[in-house]
């Protein structure tokens, strides 16, 4: 019984940890928005904006990846 509660807690915790991905999603969307606006206004800067955008997306996505890592840690009892 105690083990089951522990297991339930792990699953719930893993799911809750992934809430952080919402922020990453908003961040990725904002980066793409900014880059696309820039590209639309000045198509010549396409190459520069693309690499900068991917860099920014990577940084904001890293937050979601931390969430994923925490979620894995909970699920698979790594720590």
């Amino acid at each position: 019984m105690e083990g089951s509660i522990m297991e339930a807690g792990r699953y719930v915790g893993a799911g809750l940890a992934m809430l952080g991905a919402a922020g990453a999603g908003i961040g990725v969307g904002l980066s793409a928005l900014g880059a696309l606006t820039g590209m639309a206004r000045n198509p010549d800067t396409y190459g520069n904006l693309l690499s900068s955008m991917i860099l920014g997306i990577a940084f904001s996505e890293a937050i979601a990846i931390y969430c994923l890592v925490i979620s894995f840690l909970m699920l698979f009892k790594v720590v």
């Binding site: 894995f72 698979f76 009892k77 790594v78």
Partner: protein, 239 residues
């Protein structure tokens, strides 16, 4: 780590695999590809350079051609101008010759006309003399015999009497003399005139308006022995 499946052995195997791939791809793809890109870039640059040189050469050639054309045009215009000038001068010569010819023809025609006129007047002279004699006979009767009358009339018209010029006096020296009479002189009279003026050349002219006698022009001297001149002098003195 067990649940995530991370294992040091697997990591090492993966690293070995990546190293193999990295070295192989580097040697088999990137190096030849980048070298080829470099070669191609150089070739393209070379081609562009060649094209530039060729374009320059073409521009030079065009300039040269333009120069040659300009020279040729200048040459051509010069030739044309020369030809025009020559043609003009030739035309002028031709024109001058033609004019001279025309003047000569006109002179000849004038001389002929003069001759004709002299001939006609000479023919008239006999008739005029006959008419004058006949009229005088009617007026003065048979006072004068016909021979005398003729001599008088001849003298009147020609100013020459018995082989001597009577109307003008004095010594005449000159190269050429021009003798004008009212009616053409006969050959004897002309001889007499020539004799009395010791001139080399004597030309004879006919001008009926002097009525009678002779007008002689020698050098810059004019001797008026004409009837008209006498009448004029008479009228002058009567005024």
């Amino acid at each position: 780590m067990e649940a995530l499946g991370i294992n040091l052995g697997f990591l090492i195997v993966q690293i070995i695999a990546f190293t193999i791939l990295f070295l192989t791809l580097n040697a088999w793809i990137y190096k030849p590809m980048l070298d080829m890109m470099e070669t191609r870039k150089q070739k393209i640059a070379q081609g562009l350079e060649d094209a530039r040189v060729a374009a320059e050469a073409r521009a030079n050639a065009e300039k040269e051609a333009a120069k040659i054309i300009a020279e040729a045009q200048a040459e051509a215009s010069k030739v044309i101008r020369d030809a025009t000038e020559r043609a003009e001068s030739a035309g002028k010569e031709v024109k001058a010759a033609a004019e001279a010819e025309a003047a000569k023809a006109r002179e000849a025609a004038l001389a002929e006309v003069e001759l004709e006129r002299a001939r006609i007047l000479g023919e008239l002279r006999g008739q005029v003399a006959s008419l004058a004699v006949a009229a005088a006979n009617k007026l003065v009767g048979e006072a004068l015999d016909e021979k005398k009358q003729r001599a008088l009339l001849d003298e009147f018209f020609s100013g020459v009497k018995a082989g001597k010029v009577v109307v003008v006096e004095g010594e005449f020296q000159g190269e050429a003399a021009e003798v004008t009479s009212a009616l053409p002189l006969t050959g004897e009279e002309q001889e007499a005139v020539k004799k009395s003026f010791k001139a080399k050349e004597v030309t004879f002219k006919v001008n009926p308006s002097i009525l009678g006698g002779l007008v002689v022009k020698i050098g810059d001297k004019v001797l008026d022995g004409s009837v008209a001149g006498k009448l004029e002098g008479l009228r002058h003195s009567l005024k």
